[in-house]
């Protein structure tokens, strides 16, 4: 009965293994089936013998015995798949076994004791070695796989015991029934049971065997701190898998990108194997996720990269693929794969949690940063307000205090006699207050990003010269030497007013902090992309620890006498202005050794030539270009402009006050007036109002050239254009060329009339012809443009509202062609010309005439009044053509 049960158990293991081999072609399953085949044969023989109560044929018995004797070697072959078995051992045991089989087969029956000892010893030794191999494999594994390998090892050890018992019974008590036989059968049953449990364990037992290791592995993962990174979680995961499954290489790969490149998330390997290096370009599709180890061909990139021969692919949802690579096969790897899958899921949950936590931490950090930034900004704002309050109160104190005192002086009628210096104090404090407010407004503009920069190409020679001129009284008073090293071609791209402010602040500071008789040097060095402007002084210098503070608001340093002259905003504003231009400002200084401020501003695209460079020889005697009156109280500024304009061929006179300018304009009748705004007595605004009120002078084009940046007010008062000092000379010349009608010879004067209306054309033509002027007419814009290019006209009268190409297009067409640029244009406009159109015309035409029924009269009237008329009837230039070339 025992034999029968044992036989059934062994048959179960055999059939299971055979089934596994047939289903999956798994060589391990085949080996297992082979191991149990001899045992099954032996038990089948025994079962048949018991059932039939007759001895079996010798052949069957001998075959079973031979098979049984080969069984340990088959076990050894199986374990050789799990780990390395030395070749000499393998071959030696095989020879030994085959020898004993041959001996036993050939030996006479019943077998003598010597034969039995030989067979049993060979069997036992081989089984012992196989069992030891299984135990060694168990040592590398964990969980169910380890338990099952140990059971298998135990069963392997038990079989020789069974054999020993049975053989002993046969040898010592032949033909007798002794306790040794049932004992041997029971031991055989135990071995079969152990094998069954090892190879075909019931589900509940498998779960029980796995429970501990699952728990431990899970706990291992969970022990990671909460703020662990995703990378650390996956690193822990591969280590846990590596430790619990005994896999040689565990490789966790992310999803392949578009180029099929795999990202390595984490990896671990055992000594004797290697980790693959990037790029990871494995074809995972070839390694289908069968949950079975797939043999790798020796030339497979994975095999070459790692030294492994078997690969198991496991998908981990939401992460990618786990690759388990081995050099040797593993028994019972299904349990490991199941564990790996479960751990992968848990690690993913952890990683997702970690990602959420990391995002929260990141969010919290960013929140803290912005709170800190806001706090800082709020603090800066408070500091600024405190500083501003303090600085505003200081001059106000003098204003209120002294005016208070004035009110307390005894009144005589409606007058009070007060010390004159009090009035000066109040006035000076008021000016100081104004400067402060202007600086604050400028700072606020920069801060709010509302600083509008009208970038122009500005010659630094001119700009520095003008600022030095205005500061001359201060330098003279202190007896300072001013040294200038400014290359005439150096030019920056900057807003004229702001550049002036920058230079003024730096130079004012230098003057303020340099003792009497000291030295100030301005050095300009053009570089590839920038121009550096250095303002150095031999003043008191600034200590290193204060050098950053000087650029902060309301940080005045140094003795009170020098502090009070400034607003405490100058350098702060200067830095902002320089930065708004895309430039930088730096400071080098040491106490007692002076200071050196260096501003770097973007270089102008095309550096312009120095004013003097273009002066034509004998320019003064050339009357050709026209007459320009400069009204400016600043002699040096006027001188600069004069030099430039005479150089360009204009006749120039200067007037040093508004009153003198008006007188000169009336007497000389210039073709254009350059006007400063800030002048003692009549200022520029007054002068232009009077000019425009005077019928005889109202048509003279007036150009402002001033440090006051109020273009809108200037144009509103009737100015033709508005230039902020330092004046862009090229732009000024271009405007003058457009608006100052060159003196013409009467015989050669020619006018082009472009108008859609036949009547207007006829009337204008008749009237101009009568004055001896050559008149060419046409009725549309394109024709007008063509004519104007064929021949040089002295004046073009053009209709603004033509079909096809209107007046504006004609104007830009004229402007776009060098040969026609600068020809004066008189526009015939709609009676209700819009403000927008009027602005578009500003600076582009020399005048407008409403185009109504009386248009022809209007033109005549205009010509009568205008400087054009004067020029046309007042021919002075015998060679107009040669003059005109200079215009271009």
């Amino acid at each position: 009965m025992v034999t029968l049960i044992t036989g059934v158990l062994i048959a179960a293991v055999f059939l299971r293994a055979l089934g596994g081999f047939l289903r999956h072609r798994d060589p391990v399953q085949r080996d297992i089936a082979l191991i149990f085949l001899p045992t099954l044969a032996v038990y089948a023989n025994a079962a048949v013998r018991e059932l039939t109560h007759r001895p079996l044929p010798v052949a069957a018995s001998a075959t079973a015995t031979a098979l049984l004797l080969i069984q340990p070697y088959l076990t050894l072959r199986l374990t050789a798949r799990l780990g390395r078995v030395p070749r000499w051992l393998d071959v030696g045991l095989l020879v030994l076994l085959l020898g004993s089989i041959a001996a036993v087969t050939a030996a006479p029956r019943p077998l003598s004791t010597g034969y039995l000892v030989l067979v049993t010893a060979t069997f036992t030794v081989t089984e012992a070695i196989a069992g030891w191999m299984l135990l060694r494999a168990a040592g590398r594994r964990s969980g169910a796989a380890r338990v099952r390998l140990r059971l298998a090892a135990a069963a392997t050890y038990v079989f020789p015991v069974m054999l020993l018992l049975l053989v002993t019974a046969a040898a010592r008590y032949p033909g007798e029934r002794v306790w040794l036989q049932p004992a041997g059968r029971l031991v055989g049953l135990a071995g079969a049971l152990l094998y069954l449990l090892a190879f075909v364990p019931p589900g509940w037992m498998r779960r029980m065997m796995s429970a501990t290791v699952w728990y431990e592995a899970t706990e291992d993962l969970q022990r990671l701190p909460a703020d662990v990174s995703t990378g650390q979680i996956w690193r822990r995961f591969v280590h846990v898998v590596h430790d619990t499954t005994g896999t040689d290489v565990v490789l966790l790969l992310g999803e392949a990108d578009a180029g099929g490149r795999l990202e390595r998330i984490a990896a671990v390997c055992r000594s004797g194997t290697r980790l693959p290096h990037a790029p990871l370009e494995f074809d995972l599709a070839g390694l289908a996720a069968t949950r079975q180890p797939v043999p790798l061909r020796a030339d497979h990139p994975l095999a070459q990269a790692t030294g492994a021969r078997l690969a198991t692919v496991l998908r981990i949802e939401g992460v990618g693929t786990a690759l388990l690579l081995d050099r040797y096969r593993a028994l019972f790897s299904i349990d490991d794969l199941r564990l790996t899958g479960v751990l992968g899921t848990q690690a993913r949950v952890l990683a997702e949690r970690g990602a959420v936590l990391a995002e929260q931490r990141d969010l919290a950090a960013r929140l803290a940063d912005s709170v800190a930034a806001l706090t800082h900004a709020s603090q800066a704002k408070s500091d600024f307000l405190a500083g501003m309050s303090h600085e505003l109160r200081t001059p106000l104190n003098a204003i209120i205090g002294f005016s208070d005192l004035m009110r307390a002086e005894p009144a005589e009628d409606d007058r009070r006699s007060v010390p004159a210096e009090w009035v000066d104090h109040i006035h000076n404090s008021g000016r100081h207050l104004l400067g402060l407010i202007n600086d604050i407004l400028d700072l606020a503009k920069v801060e709010a990003g509302r600083l509008e920069l009208g970038l122009e190409s500005i010659s630094l020679d001119t700009a520095v010269g003008e600022v030095i001129t205005t500061l001359r009284p201060l330098t003279d008073r202190k007896g300072l030497q001013v040294y200038l090293d400014v290359p005439p071609t150096a030019a920056v791209r900057a807003d004229p007013l702001r550049l002036r402010q920058i230079l003024d602040n730096l130079l004012s500071n230098a003057i303020k902090f340099t003792p009497d008789g000291g030295l100030i040097a301005v050095t300009v060095t053009p570089e590839a992309e920038e121009v550096s402007i250095t303002v150095a002084d031999s003043g008191i210098g600034i200590a290193p620890e204060d050098q950053e503070r000087v650029f902060e608001e309301f940080q005045q340093l140094g003795p009170a006498a020098q502090r009070k002259a400034g607003t405490g905003l100058g350098l702060a504003l200067t830095r902002r202005l320089v930065e708004a231009h895309g430039g930088t400002i730096g400071l080098a200084s040491a106490p007692g050794e002076g200071s050196r401020f260096t501003v770097r501003l973007p270089v102008a695209d095309a550096p312009q030539a120095a004013p003097g460079g273009e002066a034509a020889p004998g320019a003064d005697s050339s009357p050709g270009r026209g007459r320009v009156l400069i009204i400016d109280d600043d002699a040096r500024a006027a001188e600069l402009l004069e030099a430039y304009l005479t150089g360009a061929g204009y006749q120039v006179r200067t007037a040093s006050s508004g009153e003198a300018g008006l007188t000169e304009a009336g007497a000389w009748r210039p073709d254009a007036i350059l006007l400063d705004v800030i002048m003692p007595g009549l200022d520029g605004w007054d002068v232009i109002r009077r000019l425009k009120r005077d019928e005889a002078l109202s048509t003279i084009p007036v150009f402002f050239a001033t440090i006051v940046d109020d273009r809108r007010a200037g144009l509103a008062l009737g100015a033709t254009d508005f230039f902020v000092k330092p004046v862009d000379h090229d732009a000024l010349l271009a405007q003058l060329a457009r608006h100052v009608v060159p003196a013409l010879s009467q015989e050669q004067a020619s006018v082009l009339v472009v108008d859609r209306d036949d009547h207007t054309r006829a009337v204008v033509e008749r009237q101009l012809s009568e004055a001896g002027i050559i008149v060419v007419t046409c009725d549309d814009g394109p024709e007008g443009l063509r004519l104007s290019r064929d021949r040089r006209f002295d004046l073009i009268i053009c209709d603004l509202q033509m079909p096809d190409v209107d007046g504006f297009a004609l104007l830009s067409g004229l402007d776009g062609e060098p040969s026609t640029r600068g020809i004066p244009v008189l526009a015939l406009t709609a009676p209700d010309l819009s403000a927008a159109d009027r602005r578009r015309l500003t600076g582009k035409v020399i005048g407008t005439v409403p185009r109504n029924s009386a248009a022809a009269d209007g033109v005549r009237e205009w010509i009568d009044l205008a400087a054009v008329a004067n020029s046309l009837t007042d021919a002075r230039d015998p060679h107009p053509d040669s003059t005109r070339e200079e215009v271009e």
């Binding site: 307000l385 405190a386 309050s389 303090h390 600085e391 109160r393 200081t394 106000l396 104190n397 003098a398 204003i399 209120i400 205090g401 002294f402 208070d404 005192l405 307390a408 010390p419 210096e421 009090w422 104090h425 404090s429 140094g558 003795p559 009170a560 006498a561 502090r563 009070k564």
Partner: protein
């Protein structure tokens, strides 16, 4: 005859205080001896050499904070009255002046009459 020390770095403000005091109506103020110091160091020198009844103290001085002087004076037995004349009028600035031991404050800009009244009340 009261002695007043004006600690103020700005010349214009010294001129103003001088003018206000010399034209003040109360004789005690009009006839007060006015000493002037343009810095903390100068003020310390003056105080070491002369006894004064009243100090008109500017807070922002080139060589330090005027409140330092006020704090030093609290340890002097027969200390003069200290009136802070300052354009730093924000609450925390005011609190700092109070903590330093100033007896009174006059915010810049101040009315001439207020300065006179304050000096008069502390000199009498």
């Amino acid at each position: 005859m009261g002695r007043v020390l004006l600690v103020e770095d700005e010349e214009l403000n010294r001129v103003l205080v001088r003018a206000i005091i010399s034209r003040a109506e109360p004789p005690a103020v009009r006839n007060a001896d006015l000493l002037e110091a343009g810095s903390l160091a100068a003020a310390r020198d003056t105080l070491a050499a002369e006894a004064v009844d009243l100090i008109l103290l500017d807070v922002n001085l080139p060589d330090g904070n005027g409140l330092e002087l006020a704090a030093e004076l609290t340890e002097v037995p027969a200390r003069p009255t200290v009136i802070a004349l300052t354009a730093s009028v924000l609450p925390h600035e005011r609190a700092a002046a109070m903590a330093a031991g100033c007896d009174a404050f006059l915010d810049k800009p101040y009315a001439a009459a207020d300065l006179v009244t304050m000096i008069a009340s502390h000199l009498s």
